[in-house]
């Protein structure tokens, strides 16, 4: 549910640091009907232009603080709210080329009252913002 909103249309941009392009960012909305702690995220995988992004190069901005992918399982106090996007930053020297890119998001959430995870997937063609 709500998976058509998963890949957020805005906020797709390269990230620069000290004059160097060091990666890029994508905004994601939760494919679920309430907010949940990031520790309940089983998996978030980005696929850009048909290439899966390695988890170890991703970090997440949730409630104003950055968490690395492997830190998510203990992030019991950072909620991914129903109405807020989270930012995913991908470390990639040089970032992405200007123009349009295929961005796919896959999210699997551990839901306490269900035997199976809640899964959402969405792919959009986004144009890199200046």
């Amino acid at each position: 549910m709500f998976e058509k909103y998963l890949v957020h249309p805005s906020g797709f941009r390269n990230v620069t640091s000290e004059g160097q392009t060091v990666g890029y960012e994508v905004q994601l909305r939760i494919p679920y009907y309430r907010g949940i702690p990031m520790s309940c995220v089983k998996e978030i995988t980005l696929t850009v232009d048909d290439a899966a992004v390695p988890h170890e190069s991703t970090s997440f901005l949730v409630k104003g603080e950055w968490l690395k992918y492997d830190e998510l399982p203990t992030a019991v106090n950072h909620r991914w709210e129903m109405a807020d996007a989270i930012t995913v930053r991908v470390e990639q020297t040089g970032g992405l080329q200007p123009g349009a890119h295929k961005v796919k998001g896959y999210v699997s959430l551990r839901i306490s009252y269900q035997p199976h995870p809640n899964v959402g997937e969405d792919e959009k063609v986004l144009t890199l913002e200046p």
Partner: protein, 326 residues
């Protein structure tokens, strides 16, 4: 028998507009009031940013809204995140602590009923009853598909309620356990995604006739023309529940609240899949004195292809309830 059934709205109904930013919490409360509700129910984990850390300002705002729109807080839908950690379930004491957190918040929000889910261990409820009484909040177990009345899960809990004589633990039927016909919004969704109209119709017919749905699933799997979506729909039908609404009569003393689940309200104020008249007749006959809250859940079946209008759906549902309550 005399009855006094009150109409409320669960703000869950407006989740689509809330998600897309068309409505905020206050807009949802206003829409519920304008639909004719005298009470509101909500999911704090859905609509409150920074849950569970709510500020004094928020509580003040909440009660100002209640007064402004002339509605009362009715129910707090809790979740109990027992799988907070990936490597283990919360222990009993951790779960009780979470339950107490929610009970205290429900009390501060003026909600007299806390919804707890099918998955809540009975021991956790037992350990929380004293706290619930102190805070004047009743713990209501949601009787929700695929579980229903009469199952071992239900009987164990009902036995405890009866034997203990507690007034602080009861049940909250979700009307999704009374699905008499498969909801058209579900059938249409599966057809849009590749289901075969003729096969979907056969699955619907088998469901409505009370046929063996697991056997029918096997039959569909054998059909040479059946698509993946046909098979998935036949499987979905095995998880939908039809219980006879008369079961409500036997359980009236334990019903603390009712979730008026619905999937679609047409222009003639009919819900095509749930027999609302039979349900309301049973509640009236039993002398039910609590709330029934509209809980719209059709949005997820149509949001892929059309704009969701939860406000109209809830308004129609409230009109139907008003007519049926009389």
């Amino acid at each position: 028998m005399s009855y006094a059934i009150k109409r409320g709205v669960s703000l869950y109904s407006y989740q689509d507009e809330f998600y897309t930013g068309k409505m905020n919490l206050e807009d949802c409360i206003r829409a519920a009031a304008e639909a004719g509700a005298t009470g509101v129910e909500f999911l704090p984990e859905q609509m409150l940013n920074n849950f569970p850390e709510l500020t004094g300002d928020f509580f003040k705002q909440w009660f100002e809204w209640m007064e402004k729109y002339n509605v009362e807080p009715v129910a707090y839908d809790a979740f109990l995140e027992t799988k907070l950690y990936g490597n283990r379930m919360l222990t009993r004491s951790e779960s009780v602590k979470l339950m107490k957190r929610d009970i205290a918040l429900a009390g501060k929000l003026g909600c007299k009923v806390l919804r707890t889910l099918v998955s809540t261990p009975l021991e956790v409820v037992k350990d929380s009853l004293g706290f619930a009484e102190e805070h004047n909040v009743k713990i209501a177990l949601e009787v929700h598909a695929p579980f229903t009345f009469g199952t071992p899960w239900f009987e164990e809990r009902l036995d405890f309620i009866k034997e203990s004589g507690t007034k602080w633990f009861g049940i909250m039927p979700d009307l999704g356990v009374f699905v008499k016909r498969m909801a058209p919004v579900m059938s249409d969704f599966y057809i849009r995604k590749g289901g075969t109209p003729e096969i979907i119709a056969l699955i619907n017919e088998n469901y409505e006739n009370g046929g063996d749905r697991k056997a029918f699933l096997e039959q569909v799997k054998q059909m040479k023309d059946a698509t993946e979506m046909d098979k998935k729909y036949a499987e979905l039908a095995t998880h939908i529940v039809f219980t006879k609404p008369q079961i409500l009569l036997d359980n009236i003393p334990y019903i603390m609240h009712v979730h008026g689940k619905f999937y679609e309200m047409d222009e003639s104020l009919q819900e095509p899949s749930i027999p609302y008249k039979d349900i309301l007749d049973a509640l009236k006959q039993g002398g039910y004195n609590g709330y029934i809250c509209s809980e719209y859940e059709g949005n997820r079946h149509i949001q892929d292809y059309m704009e969701v209008d939860s406000v109209t759906q809830v308004r129609r549902h409230q009109m139907m309830l008003q007519q049926l309550i009389g």
